[in-house]
Structures are given as C-alpha cells and as structure tokens.
C-alpha cells in the first residue's frame, strides 16, 4: 500500500509540476511571402488574408473602387509590412487593431471615433464539450466582412451595433445571432446532424470513427432518452440487441435489485466467481465503476455511452474486458454565461398481474374437496373434517373472496429532479449538478432514493487543461415491509385479513386433522408483519473524485494523466420485531429470543491512476494515431456484520434494545484487496482514410493470480477498408458509406475470488487447542492459475445508402480458453476441488442494427425513421474436465423439481435437461415417460434425461420508429425474443406440485386428471404434495413481443419561449413495458411483481 501511495504521489507531483512551466506555445505572428504582378487591390488583400488567416479587414465596396494595379514581391515579411507595401500609392491607409489590420480610405481614420454605431465584438467558439473550434468563420451578415477563429477558438470582429453575426464551420451547424450590443459573445457550435460523433470514445483514448476498425456502438444522451428516463441500463437494452438484460422471473421489477446483464453470450460458468461472472466492465469517465454506480447515475449527466464489443475495441482493457465494456462519459461544462437546466420527472409504476391465473374462493374450496383434504374413511373422522369444510363453505357463501394479490401492492409514484448549472470562460469553466431520484416500486414501501451532487471544474492554462470532477451520492433502498410477494400469491381467497372487530388477524385460519393423526396448522397472516414495524433497508454513501490533466506537450503529442479515488460506505439493516410471524415457533423458554436485528457495514476504497500519451501524425496520405499508457489500480473492500436477538416490544426498533447477540452467532465479515497494473500500447493507422489498421497490446498484472502467472498479455489486430472512399464509389449517389472491418484478439476475465491462488491459513474462531488458537489450510491452491482468456474474432460491415439507410452488421466467434473451473479432486488429497484453467466455451453469433430515414424535411423540422435490430448467439461448451462430468453425475442423483444445470461437451450452457414425456396416461393418471432405449415407463429415471431445449433465444432485438414534426416527437420500440425454450417451473409448482393448503392455479380445476379416461395435461392433485421432476411436458417454446417503450415529446423551440427567458423547454411522456405477448403462460414476478411504467418528464433551460 505504501508503495502505491508513493507512486500515486509521484504522479500527482509530476502533473502539478507542469503548472509552473513558463509560457511556450504562444502564437507567433505568421510571416508571409507575396508575389503579385498588376493585381487589383482586392486581389492583393484577399491573397494576404488567405495566407494570414483573415487578418485583414476591409470593405469590399470601398476597396474595389481602387484602380491602381499593384506589383509587389516580398518574402517572409510580417502581414503588416505586406499590407503596407500593397497600399503604397493607393487611396487607402491601414491601422493595426490587435491581431487585425484594418484597411480604410485615407482620411477616414480621423472620422472613425465619431462612428458610435461600430464596436468590437470578442468571444470564443467551442464545441458542445467546450473544446475550442479553430478556423470557424465569423461573418457579419450581408457583408463579406469576416474573421476566422484562432487555435484557441478566439475571435474579435468590428461590427455595427445591430448586426447579425453568422458563425460557421465545416461539419457543424451554422448559427446566426442578432446582436443587442454585447461586447462578448461566446458561441457553441453543435455538430451537424449527418455526422453525429465523429469520434469513438473508448474511455482511454479517442478514435476517429472514420478510421476505427473495432465494433463499438455509441449512443448520445438524446438516443438514451428516447427509450426511457429510468436509467442507462434500461435504455441500452432497447438500443443494442447484443446488450442483454436478463429478466428475472423471481424478482420482477424490484427497484432494489441489480439487473443481470451481459454482452454477446455467456462465457463463464457460475459458481467460480463472485457475483455475476458475465457482467461487462463499466468505465465511467475513464475509471472502472460498479454496476450500482451506473444504475444509480443521473441520466441527465450522461454525454454518451459506448459499448465496446470486439477485441479491437476492448483489448485496451485487457484482463477485465472479456465480457465487453460499457464506457460512459459525463457531460463536460460548456463555456458561456451561467445557464441552468432543470429536468423533472414523474414516474408511475403500476403492477402487472396478468400472468397470474389463480383460483377464486369457490374454486379453491372445490379443489381442496376434490383433492381429498376433507375426506376420511371412518365416520367420526369424516364428520370432524366435514365440519371444517362447512365452516369454510359458509365463509365462501357469505361472499368472502379476497383478492390477496393486490394487498401488498400499490401504484408507485416516484419523482426525479435534476438541476444542471454551467458556465465559464475559456480559461475556467464549471458545472454543478444536483439530482434527486425517488423510485417507488409496486410493492408498498419498496423505494429506492438516490441524492447526488457533483461539481465539475475545468481550468485551462496555456497548453494544459485540468479538470476535476467531484461526485457525491447517497442512496437508500428500502425493501417492502410486506415481505415476499409469493407469501400473498399463495393465500387462500376464502380467508379474510380482518376479524369481525376490524382488527388485522395474526392468523388467517387453521387446519386440524382428526385426533391422533397430526397437529393443527395455523396459517400466519403476512399482512400482519407489515404492521409490526420491520425494517429492511440498505444504504450507501459514495464520494468519487476524478482528476484529469491534459498537456499538449509538443505539436502532435498530448499527454493525459488521470487520478481517481472512490470511497463507498454501505450498510444493510434487517429488523424483525418479536411479533413477526417468523418467530411463531419460538415458544416456552425460547420465547425471549423472538425478534432479530442484523446490521452489516461495509467500506470500499479504490484508487486508480493512469498516464497516457497520444500522438497524432500525418505524413502525406498516412495518418497515425499512437497511444502509450500506463495504469495502476487498487481496490479494497471490508465489511462487518452482527445479529442480535430478543426484541419483545415492537415499539423499540434499535439494535441496542436487543436482549443478546444471536445464540451461537459470531460477528461476520469479509475483506479483500485487489491490485493491478498495466501497460497499454495502441496504434491506429490509416492510408488515405481508405485502408485502416488498429493494433493494441496490453500487458497487465494482478494480485489475484498465482505467483507463477501474474502477468498476462492481451492484444488485438483490426483491419478495415473504407470502400466508399475508393474512386469508383466516391461520386456514387447510392452508396455513401461502405466499410469492411475485421478484428481478432485476446481479452481476459478475472471476476473471481482474489485469494484462491494463494496457500493461506485461517485461524479457528470457535475452539482453542491447548490454549493456542490453531490455524488450518483454506484450500489446495494452484500456483499456476492464470487469466481466463477470450479469443474474439469479429467481422463487420457498415453500409450507408442514399444517405437514408444505415446498416451495421457484425458477426463474431468468441472462444473462451483457460476457463476457470473447479477440478474435482479425490477427497483423499484433503480437499475436494481445485481451480484449474481447463474449460473452453464458444459463443458464435451476429448482431445487426439498421435504420431507414423514410421521410425528412428540415424546413418543417420533420423526419420519420424506422429502425430494427437483431442479435443471435449460439453458445457451446467445447471442453470441460472429466471431473466436471462426475459432478454432473452426482447432481443427477439429487435432482429436484426444476431442471439441473448440467455441463456437457458440445452443449450450450443454457440447455434444459428433462426426461421425455408421453403425457398423462388417461387410464392411470400417471405420467408416461420414454426411456432412452425407446421403451415406456411410469418411473422417472435421472439417466433418461435428454436435451429438451435451450433457454437462450434464437434471435432477439428491437423494432421501432422515431419521428419528429415541428417539435412533436414520437418514438416507439418493440422488443422481441424468438425461438428460446422455457421450463415452465411456475406451472409445475402451481398446477402439479401444489400444496393444496394454499392457493393454486385455476388450471388445477380444469386440466388435472380425476377419473380414468380424462385426457388432460396435468397429474391429479392430492393432499400430499407430489414432486414432478423435470419432464419435457413443461418445456415450452418462448416467443415474446413486448412494447418496450413509447415516448412522446414536444419541444417548444418553434414557439417564442425566449420571452419567458427560456432557452429550451421540452415535455416528454414515456410508457415502458406496457404490454407483452408471449407463447408461455407462466407466473412472472414471484417474489416481486413486474411493473408497467409511465412517466412524464420536463426539461427547461434558462
């Protein structure tokens, strides 16, 4: 650690040292040569202007009257000298005003002070990011009088007071400003529409889009907002088909659950990794970020997001990039007067319960009767059971039919407010952000609140730019006190929540078997728990400071230093008071143990530093962009936790009121440190912008790997051909873009437990031996453990036609070698497993995005564009160790009711294993299976399991359109997945393996077997719970279409909103996941329901 600090300190000092380097790089006055014979004065001055960059100002109508022809021949003289020579003997004279030489008729200079209508206008022209625009033209409208901006974007022009100034530059939108007597006018020129993002931001360096050979997709803030206002991740899944956010059947739309995401298929087996091993790497403003940081990031702060998919794009991230990289850049402050932008959102989440098809009170009671819950053989017992049935029946007849599903739910209304202030001059710029986001989930009390603020300062001193971004975020995530939704979906509709006196029941009902044949069961009311005052929340506070320094060392060389620090403090508390029904079993002398409180506190710190040098060289037709970089990072995590018990009074909800620590409990905790460093080299070469090549090499080392294999080297090569730049296509009216790309290279994955490559001892905490606390070996370690490597091959084509159609297609083969798997050891070695780099997984597929501009009319500010995307991925396990096959066999013995994850060579990782079913035998009501040898049987045998399907879809993507007309905008996007298989576990558990004491699917009544001859799909239900094991009967084809998003917007730009001091005003309305059509009928959102969301958004800039 000490060493790290000294290195980091060194970097900081070094960067700081640059501040005091005295002024080199000042613009020196250009010397010009001129050789004219018998030229007119206008010609001569034009010539000087063209050589000096419009330093000479004159009025054409005046100068063109001059008749004297000029002959001069000067070499390397100052422009003033030049002008002087040209004016000799004419009726004109000159004066120098700053950088500008003004040519006037003789004698007029005396009149000038009397011209109050003219004055000097100064200012800067920059792009949206605040970068100065060189050579932008600043012309007074209606004249030819104009100047060009200098290398720092500065201009100065003499104008009449009420002139209109036109600003223009190649590749940017023109801008006209009517002056109102300002002396300073700083201008931002936006990029022209046809050329959105000329560069690809890879997070570490910029690449020219024209010459880049990698597969990377960039989305601007506007693109993201077209598909929703929730978070970046939710929008990205509607933008890039290869960015998959796995829908969770279990956790639905729980706002506090991080989505499971991946790019282009699965490459790692679960279990060897902490967290989600297939999660892409996130880079926020140049530094690695967590999924939570990205999830909670205020969308309004995002400038753009780039998804890096192939080796040429991601190899610069080396050992972490195998799963793809998502690069997020936040908005840099823009120059100008203080400008404020407010965005306010109202988000409405409404529960989607259409997937539930539960029995009502009458049906449920009928099902119970049919299952024999109230049937006994002896008369006395039958009488006893009948009485219970009759009691329930009278409830049903009284009209009791409680719709339990709605009890813990609400329509969640959340608010989001975000304020952005920015301004500054070329030297110093600033922006301040404040955002508060309150997400209200559909279960009562389930909220996620994030408050964040950031200050972004940018300071420019000569050739050096310093930028500091300080961001502070606080988050609190409350889980619903109502607990799991599945506790409600199983309640019987013939129960009521309140007793006759209107009090909430603690127990909803009971069931007593006849005497001596069992004990009475009481059914607890989960609603009661919501009222006792549970607390389940987690929160975090996070501070991030990123320092950025850029130094234009020499003409073509830029050096960038970055230093980032993140501190995160998180905690989780779970409190269940003594009255909670989960403690019902603690009686007698254990009664005092009722109530539990657990607290976990964690802290993580990460420090990263990097230095990159960027070189740009143009040698004739050759262009080279070369980068060399070095980086270092360390992350440490620590957490502690404890549990206390015994809270007998609901009114106290603090851990200090606990009676004792949890019986036999111990404090828990974890700790980890990871460190890494790397060296990166990358070169982009282009010849004439036609033939392109990218090369990158990264070597990095990490503390996570075995001492024998600490360093890993990752590389990529990309080649490209801009066919549209070839002569035969240069003038084509059909094809305006045709680019072929290809790349190959290696990246790594290291999302695993940091200490498994190290022989370590742990100490016993629960016993001493002879008064010594003994130590024991943690594992049998593999000193040769190395990076899991993914070899990517990617081929792509970019096609643009008629300037209306854009197609982007990529095909890829990714092979993950050295996949880390648990190698099973004979237990006589002392341990049962050992990490080995043995496996191999291949992902093959393609992704395609296309858009077609059906209609465009800039005059009416109107367009209509349709877009479609598709992705296809096939996953195949190519090699596994024989030991893994053994563990499969062991698993087969323990198979439960849901299909196992079995790994077999040649199969996909998402294969569904089940025994072939021939349906329910109408005679016996038993399921008939087909054995591997083709014979039939009633016995389920694990060895008869076959590949019954593959859960990954054949194809998925989006189809939609975007349109605008005079400020009105409408965008619609459907998401589809086709050709996947689905094991309908909820159907199994709700129709067959049901516990008849609780509510079941309606289909139990209509589609289960009752009598011989019944041709039905499901087995008979009885009072004893059956366990239907994996059978092809429940494998269904999953084809789905979802209306992913609809957005409707109105931009007030066509109305005169300036009179209300508004620069911009925009209203938006969104609908997300509003409806869904699927071939699978299964309950979704088991522990937490899915939501449909509607939101209103308003953005105002003033």
């Amino acid at each position: 650690m000490k060493k790290l600090y000294s290195i980091v300190l060194g970097v900081v000092l070094l960067i700081a040292a640059f501040t005091w380097i005295p002024g080199y790089g000042q613009t020196t006055q250009k010397l010009v040569s001129i050789n004219l014979k018998d030229a007119r004065l206008t010609q001569a001055l034009d010539e000087i202007n063209s050589k000096t960059g419009n330093q000479v100002l004159y009025k054409v109508e005046e100068v063109s009257k001059e008749t004297k022809l000029i002959t001069v021949n000067l070499k390397d003289v100052s422009p003033v000298k030049c002008v002087e020579a040209c004016l000799a003997g004419t009726g004109f004279t000159h004066s120098v005003q700053g950088d500008v030489i003004v040519v006037q008729p003789k004698g007029e200079s005396q009149r000038q002070p009397q011209q109050p209508a003219k004055h000097i206008l100064k200012g800067y022209v920059t792009d949206v990011l605040g970068k100065p625009i060189e050579e932008a033209t600043v012309v007074i409208k209606g004249t030819t009088k104009g100047v060009a901006t200098d290398s720092k974007g500065f201009y100065e022009i003499e104008t009449p007071l009420n002139a209109t100034i036109c600003y223009s530059c190649v590749g940017r939108k023109n801008l006209e400003i009517r002056m109102k007597g300002e002396k300073d006018l700083n201008i931002i020129l936006e990029e022209a529409e046809a050329e959105v993002s000329e560069v690809v931001v890879t997070g570490m360096f910029e690449r020219r889009k024209e010459s880049f050979t990698g597969s990377a997709l960039t989305f601007t803030n506007e693109n993201l907002k077209l598909y929703g206002n929730q978070n970046i991740i939710a929008s990205l899944k509607n933008l890039d088909p290869s960015f998959i956010v796995q829908e969770s059947v279990e956790f639905g739309s729980d706002p506090n659950r991080m989505p499971d995401m991946r790019i282009r298929g699965t490459s790692s087996l679960k279990g060897d990794y902490e967290g989600n091993p297939n999660q892409p790497l996130f880079i926020l403003d140049g530094f690695q970020a967590t999924a939570t940081q990205i999830f909670d990031l205020d969308m309004n702060r995002v400038a753009w997001v780039t998804i890096l998919k192939d080796a040429a794009a991601k190899a610069i991230y080396g050992s972490k990039a195998a799963n793809g990289v998502v690069v997020v850049e936040t908005i840099l402050p823009k120059m100008g007067k203080l400008k404020a932008t407010y965005t306010g959102d109202i988000n409405i989440n409404a529960p989607d319960l259409t997937s539930y098809n539960l029995a009502n009170a009458t049906e449920k009671l009928q099902i119970e009767l049919g299952a024999g819950r109230f049937t006994r053989t002896s008369i006395e017992q039958q009488q006893f059971m009948r009485e219970q049935y009759n009691a329930l029946l009278s409830e049903v007849e009284r009209g009791v039919n409680t719709y339990w599903l709605s009890k813990p739910l609400r329509v969640g209304i959340g608010q989001k407010h975000s304020m952005h202030l920015e301004g500054g001059d070329p030297a110093m710029r600033y922006s301040i952000d404040f955002a508060s986001n309150n997400v209200a989930g559909v279960m009562k009390g389930s909220d996620r609140e994030t408050v964040s603020g950031s200050i972004n300062l940018s300071y420019r001193y000569k050739d050096i730019i310093f930028r500091n971004m300080l961001n502070v975020a606080f988050n609190r995530a409350d889980d619903s006190p109502y607990g799991s939704f599945s506790d409600y979906s199983r309640l019987n509709p013939y129960w009521t929540e309140y007793d006759e006196n209107g009090n909430l029941k603690r127990f909803l009902g009971s069931y007593s078997p006849p005497a001596f044949s069992g004990t009475t069961t009481n059914y607890a009311n989960p609603l009661y728990n919501a009222a006792v005052g549970t607390k389940n929340f987690s929160k975090y506070a996070e501070i991030t400071d990123n320092l950025y320094a850029e130094w234009q060392a020499i003409k073509n060389l830029k050096i960038v230093g970055r230093f980032g620090f993140t501190y995160n403090n998180d905690s989780r508390e779970d409190f269940y008071p003594g009255d909670h029904t989960r403690f019902n079993d603690l009686t007698g002398e254990d009664y005092f143990k009722r109530g539990s409180y657990s607290i976990t506190d964690g802290e993580s710190k990460s420090v990263s530093a990097s230095i990159t040098s960027n070189y740009t060289g143009v040698f004739g037709s050759h262009m080279i962009l070369a980068n060399l970089g070095w980086n270092l990072a360390t992350t440490s995590n620590i957490s502690h936790g404890m549990t206390a018990q015994g809270f007998l009074n609901n009114r106290v909800d603090d851990i200090t009121f606990a009676r004792q620590y949890q019986e036999n409990g111990r404090p828990s905790g974890s700790e980890s440190i990871t460190r890494e460093l790397g060296i990166i080299g990358a070169v982009n070469y282009s010849y004439n912008d036609r033939y392109l090549a990218d090369l990158s090499l990264r070597t990095n080392a990490s503390s996570m790997f075995g001492a024998n294999n600490r360093w890993g080297t990752f590389w990529s090569v990309g080649l490209g051909w801009n066919i549209h730049r070839e002569k035969f296509l240069l003038r084509s009216k059909v094809i305006n873009l045709l680019k072929l790309r290809g790349s190959t290279g290696y990246t790594g994955n290291q999302n695993f437990n940091p200490f498994q490559a190290m022989r370590t001892y742990q100490f016993f905490t629960d016993r001493l031996y002879d008064n010594i606390s003994g130590s024991y070996l943690m594992a049998l370690v593999n000193n040769n453990l190395q990076w899991q490597q993914t070899h990517d091959i990617n081929g792509g084509i970019d096609l643009g036609m008629f300037k209306r159609l854009n197609i982007r297609f990529d095909a890829y083969v990714n092979t993950t070698n050295n996949m880390l798997i648990d190698y099973t050891l004979p237990s006589s070695t002392g341990f049962t497993s050992y990490k080995e780099n043995l496996g191999e997984v291949e992902n093959k597929g393609f992704d395609l995005t296309a858009s077609y501009m059906v209609y465009r009319n800039p005059d009416k500010d109107a367009f209509f564009s349709i877009n479609a995307s598709a992705a296809h991925n096939v996953n195949k396990l190519k090699k596994i160790s024989s030991a893994l096959t053994n563990s499969n066999e062991e698993q087969i013995d323990n198979v439960g009711t849901s299909p196992l994850t079995l790994y077999k060579e040649g199969q996909s990782l998402s294969v569904i294993w089940a025994v072939k079913s021939l349906g329910i035998d109408p005679i016996t009501g038993q399921e008939l299976y087909m054995k591997k040898d083709g014979t039939t049987t009633y016995t389920w045998d694990p060895l008869d399991q076959i590949v019954a399907g593959d859960a990954s879809p054949k194809i998925n993507g989006n189809i939609g359109f975007t349109s605008e007309y005079k400020g009105f905008g409408l965008a619609l996007s459907f998401r589809y997945t086709l050709g996947g298989d689905y094991y309908n576990s909820t159907l199994v558990n709700r129709v067959e393996n049901v516990d008849v004491a609780y509510n079941v699917d309606k289909r139990v009544l209509s589609s289960t077997w009752h009598n011989p001859g019944d041709m039905v799909a499901y087995r008979r239900i009885s009072t004893s719970q059956t366990s239907t094991r994996p059978t092809t009967r429940f494998v269904e084809k999953q084809n789905e279409v979802t209306l992913a998003s609809l957005s409707l917007s109105y931009d007030f730009k066509h109305l005169n909103i300036q009179k209300y001091k508004l620069d911009r005003l925009k209203l938006m309305f969104y609908m997300n996941d509003v409806f869904r059509i699927s071939t699978v009928e299964a309950e979704r959102g088991l522990s937490y329901p899915f939501a449909r969301s509607f939101s209103f958004s308003l953005t105002a800039t003033f």
Binding site: I7, L14, R675, Y761, N886
Partner: protein, 479 residues
C-alpha cells in the same frame, strides 16, 4: 524551451518504466487480513505451534472425535445404546448396517474428508519444518515434527480401521491411499498390510523424535518454560501415546510380540495411574484424566454432555436402559465403580434411563481434568497385553485382573472362552468411547450383542469408499 520539454517527457517515460517495474512483484503480493499466507505463518516458531494446534483442532469436530467416532455413529454401530434416533438424519442406516442410506453415507464421507484434511494439514508442517529448523528450538523441532508424524499415522490408522477390511479377513485387500504430500495428485491405494507398515514407519519416526518429550525425559515443565508450551503433554500425541498407538497397530497386524512390548513400556513407565474410587464418587475425574495416554481438548464438552447424556436433552439423547446396563456389568455390578459412579439415573418419564457421565464436567476445578475426550487410555494397554499373551501362550489373566482390581472387582478365574470374556470386559471399560465396534471388527464377529444382523455377510465392518473419492480417482473395491 524544446529542450526542457524533452527533459520532462524523458522524465515521464523513465518514471513510468521504473514505476511499473519497481512496484510489480511486491506490490501485487496482497495479504488477506483474515487469513495468513503460509510463508508468513511458518516464519516463526509460534506459527508452527499454531499449525500443529490447528491439526489437533481439526479432529475436534462432531463428524470426527467429539461425536460420531466416539459415542455417536461408532456407538450405534456397536449397539452400545438402548435408544437413538432412527428417523431421517438419525442412525437408521447404522442400525441396519446399510451404508447407502444418505445420512449414513454423508457421515462416512465426512469421516473420510475430515481425516484426510487433517493429514494434509500435517503434511504441510512436515513439508516445511526441515527447512525452518533454524527458527525452532531443538526440543520443539523434535516434538512438533514427531507429533505431526504421529497425527498423520494416527489418521491413516483410523481410516484403515474403518475403510480397510479386518486383518483376519484379508490383509492384502486394497484399502486406502497413504498420503504424504500437499498436492492435487492422486496417491496410490495401498493394501491393508501396506498401510499398516506405513503407519508403523511414521510412528517409529515419531517415537525417535519424541524421545525429547518431557513426559519421557521426566523434565519438569512450568509456565516459565516457553510459556508452558510442553506442560499438557496428555493433550498431545506424546511419547507414550505414540507407544500406545504402536501397540494398537502391532496388535492389528497380529504382531503380538511387539504389541506386548510397546504396551508394557507404557504400563511400566508409571506415568499413568488408575482413577481412585474416591475421585469417582466425588465426580472429580469422570473422564479418567490420569489414565489418558492422549485426550483431545474439547471446550464444548459440557454442551455435548447436556445434549446427548441427560434426561432433559431432546431427540439426540443416547441412554442405556437399566436392564441393559445390568447385562453389561453382570452380577458383580454393585462392586463395579463404573456401574456405580459413571451413570446418572434418569428422572420422571425417563427414570428407567441411565446416562453416561464420562463427559460430565468434573468437580475438580483444575484444568487437568477438564474438557478432555479420551483418545487412548491405560486400560487398552492392559487388554493389548492380555490378548497378545493369550495368542503367545503367556499369562493373560493377570493384566485383565489388574484392570478389574482398579475398577473395584475381584480377581476373575480363567474363562472357558477367553475372547468372549475379553469382549465383555472391554465393553465395560470402553462404553461411549468408540472402540467397541472396532474391537468387534478386529475379532471379525459375525453376530454381536443386541443385533440380529450378519455383520460379516453385510460387510458391515468395512465402510465403502465415499463417492467424493471414487468419482475422482480410480479405486479398487476395498470391501
């Protein structure tokens, strides 16, 4: 100007290069806080002591010597108790000697895994200790290495006793691997006779090293000597404990001459003495601390006693009903200290139950008597001598009567069937200590008290090799 710029650039390049080279190897060597790297642990003498204590602590678990291999599974297999839970997770498999019942299978697997894990931990000490000889005192080097060898031998011998066929059946039947390395490689499966030879090899090496043991040198150790590290030798595999193990191993391979020799050395040393009647009456030493050649340190002993040996305990309780106890101790039971003082009467509904008191907390406060679970004790040495003498036609009744006298009984006359007589005598002394089943096994008894099962036919005396072993390694049938 350009010169200066170049200098800065040069400085930067040099800095980056040096920075990355300088930092790499050391800086990347991350040390986890809750764990210690092996090199760090074995850099001091106390690290070796901690590692050795860890090895013993690994034996102090319910799947091994605080339950299953003492009174739990081993007790049920020998039908020592009148009552035990037979429902799922209970001892139904043991009751019928069906080792495929999953709860039983899991227990067998845990024994295998636990003992081999202990062996691996001992192997790492043995792998490192010779190169670190300089940081250890000579005595501690000898003792730590000797004990590590002895633990390795003990664990393998225990594995052989459960997973190898009885010597009487077939001494060349494949049994278990003898593991001497910490490595992800499969050690070869050895025959019963090969394993016992390896066990004796390690025990002989251990005995040589343990000649430095203060229990053998009679050096008096106090708190002032190395913080009293060598004070509690009976908690460790000391010189005499290893001698006792040698006697046990020689008897196992029917080398009666050597078995007798080793057992007699322990008896004649005079280090171990019988517990007196007064101490038994006063519950001063129910575990028999003075008789223990080796006892493991179990801090949770009082909880174990409450959980399994008291009338207020729940479903795990292991009582002996009074009729059965009368059979165990015979007509002379009113004289037998063990019958008289080592059982507690149940109360109320459990008034017919008798609960073993061996694990009860002694009334003497001295830590010498407390938290000790017998692993090897004096009476076994006498029985080894007796059995060895019987087969070598020597005087075999004297050693038996020595034990009887110590337990308050009169001299017994020569029985008709000595082995049956020895069995009943052995059972009286070893109830709840896990040795009875292994005694039956050594004698290869087809039928045992209170069971109708044919133990030989069921191959009940040999546990099958667990799946975690056979699925990852090619092993021959050990039964």
């Amino acid at each position: 100007m350009t010169l200066m710029k170049n200098k800065i650039l040069l400085a930067l390049v040099v800095f980056i290069t040096i920075g990355s080279l300088y930092s790499c190897s050391d800086w990347l060597d991350v040390k986890p806080k809750s764990q210690v790297k092996d090199a760090e642990l074995f850099s001091t003498e106390s690290g070796f002591k901690e590692a050795l204590s860890g090895v013993y602590s690994l034996l102090v678990t319910e799947p091994l010597y605080t339950k299953e291999l003492r009174f739990g599974m081993a007790g049920v297999l020998a039908r020592e108790w009148s009552y035990y839970t037979t429902v799922t997770g209970g001892y139904a498999g043991e009751e019928s000697y069906d080792y495929t019942v999953s709860a039983t299978e899991n227990r067998i697997e845990a024994i295998w895994k636990g003992l081999y894990n202990t062996i691996t931990n001992a192997n790492v000490i043995l792998e490192v200790i010779d190169s670190k000889k300089s940081i250890l005192t000579e005595v501690n080097y000898n003792i730590i290495k000797g004990e590590a060898l002895a633990v390795r031998a003990f664990c393998h011998f225990e594995l052989l006793r459960y997973f190898g066929v009885s010597w009487t059946v077939n001494s060349s039947q494949p049994a278990i691997p003898y593991v001497k390395t910490y490595a992800p490689v499969q050690s070869p499966q050895l025959k019963v006779s090969q394993v016992i030879d390896k066990v004796l090899e390690d025990l002989n090496d251990a005995v040589e090293l343990l000649k430095s043991d203060p229990i053998y040198t009679r050096k008096v150790i106090t708190e002032l000597d190395d913080n009293g590290y060598l004070m509690n030798r009976q908690r460790h595999l000391n010189y005499y404990a290893v001698k006792g193990l040698q006697a046990r191993a020689y008897l196992y391979k029917k080398d009666y001459i050597n078995a007798k020799l080793c057992a007699r050395e322990v008896i004649n040393s005079g280090v171990f003495t019988w517990v007196s009647q007064n101490d038994m009456i006063a519950m001063n030493d129910p575990a028999g601390a003075t008789e223990q050649l080796w006892a493991i340190d179990v801090q949770s002993l009082s909880t174990i006693a409450t959980n399994y040996f008291s009338s207020s305990s729940g479903s795990g309780v292991l009582p002996v009903y009074s009729e059965r106890l009368a059979i165990y101790y015979g007509d002379e039971r009113q004289d037998d200290y063990r019958y008289m003082y080592l059982f507690e009467n149940g109360t109320g509904a459990n008034s017919n139950s008798r609960y073993l008191r061996k694990l009860y907390t002694p009334n003497l406060e001295d830590s010498y008597y407390r938290n000790k679970m017998t692993m090897l004790k004096l009476s076994e040495m006498y029985y080894i001598v007796a059995e060895s003498c019987y087969y070598t036609t020597d005087d075999y009744m004297t050693p038996i009567n020595d034990v009887r006298h110590a337990r308050g009984l009169n001299t017994a006359s020569q029985p008709v069937n000595f082995i049956n007589f020895l069995t009943t005598e052995f059972r009286k002394d070893f109830l709840g200590e896990g040795q009875l089943f292994l005694f039956y096994k050594r004698q290869n008894m087809g039928s045992i008290y209170d069971s109708a099962a044919d133990l030989i036919g069921l191959k009940a005396y040999t546990f099958p090799l667990p799946k975690s072993e056979t699925q990852a390694a090619q092993r021959e049938d050990n039964r």
